[in-house]
């Protein structure tokens, strides 16, 4: 016997349609009961006679599954055979899913290979979850899968615990590439989602004495952030550490997350670390002061730093804006605002300094655009931004490359600062006067007086202070980089080479580094894109752009107005002439403005995205996993059962078939093939044989097989 079993859904549909379309013993019409009685007159086992009529399928007659019989007498004499049972006729959705199920793909299981006692099928008394576990463990050893953990709890009657199907799926168990030890990326994506579906459900976790915060805390680590942004296959998911079956609490020495076993567990992915590397917390709650004091205080410190910096500079910004705006309006009213005219150009930045700043702009934007999306992994824009950089792994390469460029700039600046303090030939002489001198970026007492003077000016209590070459906010910008490089560069290095740094620090420092890196990044981005942008470009008398960092030149009048002390000093020292430069060409000025404005707009757009996300996150506080466990929590109930129409299998709308419109040919009841009419008989299109008519159908003269007449209308 050579059964062609089709995997193709189209053929399945045709098959089913055909099975439904062939009227079962059409003349004379019989009721389901009458048909059943006919079947039972021969098939009278206890299983069919009694148990079937107590089963879930009892309202379906025998022939609603076992179709294809047209003549009971011929069937009884063995001339007519049954069509294959097609469960998908009623359970169409499951049948569709099942074509991708591992049991079909790998072991070629059919419905009744699991649903063995189909004629005695009942609603399980034990409840859905227990029955699933019992069924799966018929083949998958209970010793291996349900000795501890979820499986054991299900068998103990814990309604919320996960049965096999809650994690693996029921009829859609995916086929993953084989992997021993650690999961394949595809499996990681699938299973971590499943864990989080329940463990992120606050109500369910609370009921069971667990905390949904674990998921939130995991999502705040590097592993969790990368997962949330769409690259779950690349990082450790739940099962990579907790294993998949027989999950035990960390206190149990057999648990994979027991401190004794952590080196092996982490070692599945991380190599070459000092044993204290495993002191890393995979999901710490840094809000919990008792359990994680270091992380708590690190977070508090970083939050306080952000708050104080922005508290000062944003107030400074608003006040300055008001004052400068009013001032500008007044000058315009009084006609004192001088129109731009040809004037002498004084150099402010050398070519080297300008190039350094442009390189800085590129590296800073790269860092922000590849790093900040991880911090705000929940938002859609983060996913888009990461996609623009080619996904998390490639964005990571960009991030590290930009970090190296920034570090090189930083080190070069340090070298230039040393050269400034200790110029060649002068040795140590006079370095203190240079350090606190007017050309130095080091803060001094005059800066404190200037801050006071600025605030007095903001409130119309005095004149704007007279500045020398560097103002106090410019000095802050410069020194913020020193602090920032230590904080963000140091923590970044630890996160880049966590295994190496375990030889220097214990593993929990990685947790602290995550917090510092993340918060310092926010500080840097927000500070540059709001305070630095305003102070240097957006302040009303410079709006929208101060191009001197790109052109390197200030007008003489601008120098006199903004930095009178420097002007007077240059005049007194007779150095002004040597700093005079020719005016730049139109093309260079245009290019400078375009580049500057584009950078400004990009920065402001990023600030908008960040602030919008922070505000909307605070508005919708609940985060973490979904609220949609596979089976409704609370009881040992099965998922809602669709109601199937008994007896009559639904006939799907048939696709256009080659024999559409014919009503004369014949059908091979075993294969479903259609034999078109030819004269009074029919032709087997495959072999070309002619089958003459015989009674209601046709006869194969060679084998004597009977083929019933095909009539979609059913009227004969």
């Amino acid at each position: 016997m050579n059964n062609t079993i089709s995997g193709s859904s189209l053929i399945v549909v045709l098959w089913l349609w055909l099975a439904g379309a062939i009227p079962v013993y059409a003349a004379p019409a019989m009721t389901t009961d009458e048909l059943n009685r006919r079947c039972l007159s021969c098939h009278d086992d206890f299983n069919y006679r009694v148990r079937f009529f107590e089963s879930l399928h009892r309202n379906n007659g025998c022939v609603s599954c076992h179709s294809g019989i047209r003549d009971f007498a011929r069937h009884a004499s063995g001339e007519e055979r049954l069509a294959a049972v097609a469960c998908g006729n009623c359970h169409g959705e499951i049948a569709g899913d099942y074509l991708k199920d591992v049991h079909y793909l790998r072991q070629d299981f059919r419905c009744n290979d699991c649903h063995r006692d189909i004629h005695g099928l009942r609603r399980p008394e034990t409840g859905f979850k227990v029955s699933v576990v019992n069924l799966c463990t018929k083949c998958h050893s209970s010793e291996e899968y349900v000795r501890f953990g979820h499986g054991k709890y299900v068998l103990e009657g814990k309604a919320d615990s996960a049965a096999c199907s809650d994690c693996h799926g029921l009829h859609n168990i995916p086929l993953f590439p084989p992997a021993v030890g650690k999961s394949s990326p595809e499996a990681r994506v699938w299973y971590t989602d499943k864990c989080i579906r329940c463990h992120g459900n606050e109500a369910m976790m609370k009921r069971n004495g667990l905390s949904a915060a674990t998921v939130r805390d995991y999502e705040e680590t590097y592993h969790g952030k990368v997962r949330k942004i769409g690259y779950a296959g690349q990082v450790a998911g739940c099962a990579d550490c907790h294993t998949s079956h027989n999950i035990l609490p960390a206190a149990d020495p057999r648990s994979a997350v027991n401190p004794e076993n952590l080196i092996a567990t982490c070692g599945k992915c991380h190599h070459g670390f000092q044993p204290r590397f495993v002191e890393f917390n995979a999901h710490p709650d840094y809000r919990n002061r008792e359990r994680y004091p270091v992380l708590f205080w690190t977070y508090v410190f970083m939050a306080a730093l952000l708050a104080s910096v922005f508290c000062f500079f944003w107030i400074h910004l608003v006040l300055w804006w008001r004052k400068a705006y009013w001032e500008k309006c007044r000058r315009l009213r009084e006609g004192k605002e001088a129109p731009e005219c040809e004037e002498e150009q004084i150099e402010r930045f050398s070519l080297k300094e300008r190039v350094m700043h442009i390189v800085l702009i590129f590296s800073f934007f790269t860092l922000v655009m590849t790093g900040i999306p991880l911090k705000y992994h929940n938002s859609d824009w983060s996913k888009i931004l990461i996609q623009l950089f080619g996904g998390v792994p490639r964005a990571g390469v960009f991030h590290r490359a930009a970090a190296l460029v920034l570090t090189a700039l930083f080190l070069y600046t340090c070298w230039l600062s040393l050269r400034f303090l200790f110029p060649a030939g002068r040795r140590m002489r006079g370095w203190i006067s240079r350090l606190f001198g007017p050309d130095s970026l080091f803060p001094n007492l005059k800066d404190l007086r200037d801050i006071k003077g600025m605030f007095l000016w903001f409130f119309d209590r005095g004149e704007m202070p007279r500045f020398d070459r560097w103002t106090y906010w410019e000095k802050f910008d410069f020194f913020a980089v020193f602090w920032g490089m230590a904080a963000i560069g140091g923590s970044g290095l630890i996160l880049w080479f966590p295994e190496f740094f375990s030889y220097i620090f214990p593993g929990w420092v990685i947790n602290a580094a995550t917090i510092v890196h993340s918060e310092e990044a926010l500080l840097a981005a927000l500070f540059i894109f709001t305070v630095h942008f305003f102070n240097n470009h957006l302040v009303p008398n410079k709006f929208p752009l101060e191009p001197n960092i790109f052109t390197g030149r200030n007008g003489l009048r601008q120098l006199q107005a903004e930095r009178p002390l420097e002007y007077e000093r240059l005049m007194a020292e007779n150095r002004l002439e040597s700093l005079k430069r020719p005016r730049l060409g139109v093309a260079t000025r245009l290019l400078s403005s375009l580049f500057g404005l584009a950078s400004l707009l990009l920065g402001l757009f990023l600030v908008f995205l960040i602030l919008w996300t922070i505000l909307s996150d605070t508005a919708n506080t609940p985060r973490g996993g979904g609220k949609d466990p596979l089976t409704p929590p609370g009881s040992l109930v099965e998922p809602p059962q669709p109601q199937y129409k008994p007896v009559e299998p639904p006939v799907p709308a048939p696709p256009a078939l080659p024999w559409a419109g014919h009503n004369r040919g014949a059908v091979n009841p075993r294969t479903g093939e259609y034999y078109p009419p030819s004269g009074k008989g029919v032709i087997n299109p495959r072999t070309g044989e002619y089958y003459p008519p015989s009674g209601q159908g046709f006869i194969n003269p060679r084998t004597g097989a009977y083929y019933p007449r095909f009539d979609p209308g059913g009227a004969q």
């Binding site: 062609t4 995997g7 074509l99 790998r106 070629d108 059919r110 018929k138």
Partner: protein, 253 residues
């Protein structure tokens, strides 16, 4: 000067590219859709490299059953009979270790292909299979390597039936295991004692269930199959959970 600097670059390139050229042409891999298209043409012959039991159970419609181990011996004649010009080979799902046999074939045929992802990917793509003698699937419980390790220590331990090829068995096996390769199971299952507990072991745990079902059909009542096959068994030894001397994978002497 320029030539001098270029020479080492060429040398390095030559060294880097050498292994790729020296290894000989690899078997071309085709996906299910491409195979389906190839099958429409005459002279394309598809060969199932798995055991006869698996091949008869279900296979790509119209394919020949020639087990990998017997390939070199049987394939040339059967392919000649079929007037094959293009040959496509497949296994269960993962790559088969059937390279030597496949390479022996390459000389005589213009096209020798391997189905990517094997039979599973064919089914996953929605194409048909045919079944000649289906092995009834039995409810046969698996056993995990740890439990098997414990059983091996006991006095009346089970008989391990290793269904991998003779070559793989020679490379290493569980001590005391009997080697009845899957492709010969139907001829040799009578050698297995009926009164002992049987554990069927394969490469990765994907074929032993069907072999166990076959044995169950033949009247063996106490059969189990090892989860994850020898791969998981070996991983357990490597993980250091067990002293290697206890359950050493022994080579055959």
């Amino acid at each position: 000067m320029r030539i001098k600097t270029a020479t080492p670059v060429f040398l390095i390139l030559a060294v880097l590219l050498a292994p790729a050229q020296g290894a000989g042409p690899d078997v071309t891999v085709v996906g299910p859709a491409a195979l389906h298209k190839m099958m429409q043409q005459k002279n394309t012959v598809v060969v199932d490299l798995m055991s006869r039991i698996e091949c008869m159970d279900h296979r790509i419609a119209g394919s020949l059953c020639i087990a990998c181990e017997e390939f070199a011996e049987k394939a040339p004649r059967r392919l000649r009979e079929k007037k094959a010009r293009v040959v496509v080979l497949y296994c269960d799902g993962e790559s088969c270790d059937c390279k030597a046999a496949v390479e022996s074939l390459q000389k005589g045929y213009p096209g020798v292909y391997m189905l990517k992802g094997g039979l599973s990917s064919w089914k996953q793509a929605g194409y048909a299979t045919e079944s000649e003698v289906r092995v009834p699937r039995a409810a046969i419980e698996s056993i995990d390597p740890d439990s098997l390790g414990k059983l091996l220590g006991e006095k009346s331990g089970p008989l391990i039936v290793d269904i991998r090829s003779e070559a793989s068995f020679k490379e290493g096996h569980i001590p005391g295991a009997a080697n009845i390769p899957f492709y010969r199971l139907q001829e040799r299952y009578q050698e297995i004692p009926l009164d002992r507990r049987i554990i069927v072991v394969d490469e990765r745990g994907s074929r032993s269930y069907l072999a166990a079902s076959y044995l169950a059909e033949k009247g063996f009542e106490d059969v189990n199959w090892l989860t994850g096959g020898m791969e998981k068994w070996n991983a357990r030894l490597c993980a250091g959970k067990v002293k290697v001397s206890d359950h050493r994978v022994s080579g055959s002497e």
